[in-house]
């Protein structure tokens, strides 16, 4: 388990993600940010718990719901916001947006608009590391429960298990793929058991508990780094809001279910724990909040003050 003095850091990161997502929601509700967006509010503990098991030069492969991963990997908020605003100063010069945000300098191989497509890419990065680059880097690959039944999941896990690749597969199981409950999509309930088909350990973690996520993922990362191959870690979590911009979830889930999960808010529960254990005071929390708000405001200002790409940029960077 992470030493206690790092718990504050975990809390801080989760809160930062939450506040950034809230700001983004505000911005797209005002139509200042366009396009397809998926917020990870409710799932912050997975991103932060998992990523804090990584070294700086470990690779990350993210998903369409990737803001949290990106922030936990150390994203500059200004460049991230600029990307969402479609500005030239964004991480992808405005060409990627939320679903394709990436930064190779941060060892971040991109969000992905296609369900499950991160898995083969992660396997490939891990293969390159193991066979060609000969470093002790690890690749972390996030995917949602929706990706459990797509062919790429099977092919990638089989290859990783077969070749003992240094990759950690993290399933963020928030029970839904858009409207589809995981039990209506996946022939089995115990997802982690699927790891057995690929000769790798599979564990389930409480995705609302940042420390538990971190503990489980840490083991998996160690295994990978030591050459023992891949693991599957299933984190049970919940998205508090709608799938994308559409806030309505009423056709496929109940208010009661939502309420139950919201009571387990990974940030509030952890905050109370930190305060209770005297690791943090209410005052500290407020300072942290204030810092976060300020940094987000700065990021938004930077983004909105930034220029759009010019027409000449359209056909640039297609080829190297």
């Amino acid at each position: 388990m992470k030493p206690r003095h790092l718990w504050i850091d975990l809390f801080q990161q989760m809160l930062l993600i939450r506040r950034v997502e809230e700001k983004i929601r505000e911005l797209y509700t005002q139509d200042r940010i366009k396009g397809m967006l998926h917020l990870c509010i409710g799932q912050e503990a997975v991103a932060v718990g998992a990523m804090s098991a990584l070294r700086e030069n470990d690779y990350l492969v993210s998903t369409h719901r990737g803001h949290g991963h990106f922030i936990a990997k150390g994203a500059d908020l200004g460049k991230m916001m600029a990307e969402l605003f479609g500005r030239r100063t964004g991480y992808c010069k405005g060409k990627g947006g939320s679903m394709h945000i990436a930064d190779i300098d941060l060892y971040h191989l991109g969000a992905n608009g296609i369900v499950g497509e991160g898995l083969p890419i992660a396997a490939g990065a891990a293969l390159a590391i193991k066979n060609i680059l000969h470093t002790d880097q690890v690749v972390m690959c996030f995917f949602g429960d929706g990706a459990l039944n797509i062919g790429a999941f099977h092919e990638a896990l089989n290859l990783a298990g077969l070749w003992k690749l240094p990759v950690v597969f993290i399933c963020e199981n928030n029970s839904y793929a858009i409207s589809m409950h995981v039990n209506r999509a996946c022939a089995v309930e115990d997802i982690a058991k699927r790891a057995e088909s690929y000769d790798m350990p599979g564990v389930t973690a409480d995705g609302m508990d940042v420390l538990e996520v971190n503990e489980q993922v840490d083991l998996a990362v160690k295994r990978a780094r030591e050459g023992q191959g891949p693991s599957l870690v299933v984190c049970q979590t919940y998205r508090f809001l709608g799938h994308g911009r559409n806030p309505d979830c009423s056709t496929y889930r109940t208010k009661e279910e939502e309420q139950q999960w919201k009571q387990r808010c990974p940030i509030e529960v952890f905050r109370d724990r930190l305060i209770q254990k005297n690791i943090l005071t209410q005052n500290d929390v407020e300072t942290i909040e204030a810092d976060i708000v300020r940094s987000i405001d700065e990021a938004v200002d930077f983004a909105e003050a930034s220029p759009y790409p010019a027409a000449e940029d359209l056909e640039v960077d297609i080829y190297a």
Binding site: K95, M99, H100, G116, G146, C186, Y308, I318
Partner: protein, 329 residues
């Protein structure tokens, strides 16, 4: 005549055909309980039950492959692939199985599969949710390719596609779902393989389809004020191509612009230009040209996306140029 949306027109087509023929069923991601991410299938689950309206896992390959298998044993599946971009996951099932099965089996089987999907740029969804891949499918013997532009055509063509005994790739456009247009209450069909002259004109032929039809009509309107009478042909079906209607128009006008939403190189326009050149070369007063999407992935930034795909200005400029008129670039 009453006006309904493209979305509702499609839904009516589904309802009418499912009522008419119990062997029609539909499956896809989020189409039942949720009613489809574009709400086209809303209400079908309630009316037809969960044996005929199925939510599938995110498994495009097996959706298409199972559709093919179900069609092969005598049912009429309508599968939904949420974005045409995701057809990349079921190319084998569509191209190597569904499209070829009848031929490979010596004509002894029918594969009445409809693949409903939608695509196109214009919604700030970036490179993986904005593709126009129709050209690929026109290159696959055994498939038909349909792309309706209006509520009327959407309904009539979807009904015909469902009744067709061949695999049909039916590509809707996300910018059109909310568009309203006249749709009769009475039943009707629009046959596959027939283009529609959406506006008559003598001076130039604009050949177009899907989201570019309204762009072309707007351009024609503007051109008219400049004294250029444009004929606008909405292909509706890309394969089989209604080359007769095209040639008739071209023989009359002698000038052609293809206005297409997909990226230019390797797009559907190339094929059309080639056929025109092959069959009506002597009627051409000027080279047929293409006003098409740029050869680039679709960028996210609204500032760039809007110039990645043709608009009215680009089209009218191209036409003016063809008539030797000066235009400020």
């Amino acid at each position: 005549m009453r006006e309904i949306t493209y979305r509702d027109a499609l839904k009516e087509a589904m309802q009418e055909e499912m009522r008419r023929d119990p062997s029609v069923f539909t499956m896809g991601e989020d189409i039942a309980v949720y009613g489809g991410v574009y709400s086209v299938t809303k209400g079908l689950l309630e009316e037809f039950g969960d044996e005929r309206v199925l939510d599938t896992p995110i498994s495009e390959a097996v959706i298409a492959g199972a559709g093919t298998g179900a069609a092969a044993v005598g049912t009429r599946p309508v599968i939904e692939i949420m974005y045409v971009d995701f057809m990349t996951f079921c190319m084998d099932q569509i191209v190597n199985q569904a499209a070829k099965m009848r031929y490979m089996f010596g004509g002894k089987i029918k594969v009445p599969l409809v693949v409903r999907t939608q695509g196109g740029a214009g919604t700030y969804c970036a490179a993986q949710h904005s593709e126009s891949l129709e050209a690929w499918f026109t290159h696959v013997p055994g498939l038909k390719v349909v792309m309706p532009a209006t509520p009327y055509d959407a309904k009539g063509l979807l009904k015909s596609s469902i009744r067709d005994d061949n695999p049909v790739i039916f590509i809707e456009h996300n910018l059109l779902y909310n568009q309203k247009g006249p749709v009769p209450e009475e039943e009707y069909l629009v046959p596959l393989g027939l283009a529609d002259i959406k506006r008559e004109g003598e001076d130039i032929t604009i050949i177009t389809y899907s989201s570019m039809v309204s762009v072309s009509l707007a351009a024609a309107e503007e051109l008219a004020t400049a004294g250029i009478r444009a004929e606008v042909i909405d292909l509706r079906t890309l394969y089989p191509l209604d080359i007769e209607t095209i040639l008739q128009s071209v023989r009359k006008t002698g000038r052609v612009v293809i206005c297409e939403p997909d990226c230019k190189t390797g797009g559907v326009g190339g094929e059309i230009v080639s056929q025109i050149t092959e069959y009506a070369f002597d009627y051409l007063d000027a080279p047929p040209i293409r006003v098409a999407g740029r050869d680039t992935p679709i960028p996210y930034s609204p500032a760039l996306e809007s110039i990645a795909v043709p608009d009215k200005n680009e089209l009218t400029k191209a036409v003016y140029r063809l008539f030797g008129r000066k235009v400020e670039s």
